[in-house]
């Protein structure tokens, strides 16, 4: 029983083992507070860009951790770096650095440097 039935829902589950978690590793190594998030959503609630469009730092954060990174580049690009998220975060996550690092990691991934 190797697939535990998941093979039926190929697109509907997170294949954690198969997912590429290099972006997460890249961020963890440079910004330990990446791991402090408790998914409260404060950042996304206050987000200046999030007022107009789909941008949730909380979501980006957790998607990167799960290796579900296909959609995050588009979201990251929308950030204005205004810093409200950093100011409200109850866990002291250095949110803006995560955005910057994630951008770097994606660039390096595309250039095969990671």
């Amino acid at each position: 029983m190797s697939d535990f039935g998941y093979v039926l829902l190929k697109n509907r589950h997170i294949d954690y083992e198969a997912n590429d978690k290099r972006i997460a590793e890249y961020i963890y190594a440079r910004e330990p507070s990446f791991g402090y998030c408790m998914e409260c959503g404060c950042c996304a609630g206050t987000c200046t860009s999030g007022n107009f469009t789909h941008l949730s730092l909380r979501e980006i954060n957790i998607l990167i951790k799960r290796g579900e990174t296909s959609t995050i580049k588009e979201q990251i690009d929308k950030c204005m770096l205004c810093g409200k998220c950093t100011l409200v975060c109850p866990r002291g996550v250095n949110t803006r650095n995560i955005i910057i690092l994630a951008g770097e990691a994606i660039q390096k991934l595309e250039a095969n440097e990671l």
């Binding site: 409260c40 959503g41 609630g45 002291g92």
Partner: protein, 341 residues
Amino acid sequence: MNKEVIVIGAGAAGMESAGQLANEGFSVKIFEKDESPGGHLKGWYHLFPNRRDSVEVMDYLLDVIDRKEIELLTNTTVTKVSKKDGKFVVTTTQNKEYNADAIIVTTGFDLFRSERKEEYGYGIYDNVITSAELEKMFRNGNLRCTDGRIPQKVGFIHCVGSRDEKVGNFYCSKLCCVSAVKQAIEIREHVPESNVFCFYMDIRMGGSGYEELYRESQQKYGVNYIRGKVSEVAENYEGKLVLKVEDTLVGKPLKMEFDMLVLMVGMEMSESGKELAVNSGLLTGENRFFAPADHHFGSNKGNVDGIFYAGACTATMNLTETLAHARSAVDDVVDYFRRKK
């Protein structure tokens, strides 16, 4: 055995431990900074989880200390305790000194000052109130907005001043979740046509009967729960409160309007406790509460032998735990005198 023990603070912990001390045959003095005993209990309406009227508990505690071995000194703040030759000297703000053979500190907690969480608009917008103020409204039977309207839509914001690095409090205050559930139910009882929403990060229902109360709030009272820590509150032209929050389970920012917002304020080490700690050389922890000698075996003891702690001056505690903690402090006092013989 006519030992004298001084209890600092006449809240639930102080009164209960005083009663137990008297049972053990000690003569007891309780110092209370307010003009009457009772502490935070005085401001409460009904208690969770069984929603007993707080007056019942208050009456019980008043009975407990109503005996000749116990002397209650109100309007007296203790500023310092010092130890000399195995005896204690207690100094008050009136610069009077009292002697004692042992001390129980029950200085309790202060509620988080909500102005410090400015983005929630407490003190800026009308109708942003604290959970303590809501209890008073219930008690006075006067649940109204500042303009006299009866609130039709009420929001509860959990974790105000708790679990928040930005205000310097890393800990969970434990009681606010269940208080919110209780108060949400009471709002629905007072205003049956109202809608109530609780904004939470985690619903922490650790106590006995709490989870059942949570379920009841949904089953019987239709209280709504939205997972997300509120980021900002603003007031619109109609005087309604608008809040910004991410509905984290949907994954979208959510805007909602309210007539009244209740901030579930957390507990912090009391100011009088802080002063006492500094002046008397009592150690406090990272969370600023008194540091117990040992997490498991010495939660009533501190760094000075003969000075014991009880109740919420050592950690956030509910009433049940506080009363039990008060009684176990007395055990430690008895043990202390036995050891000294």
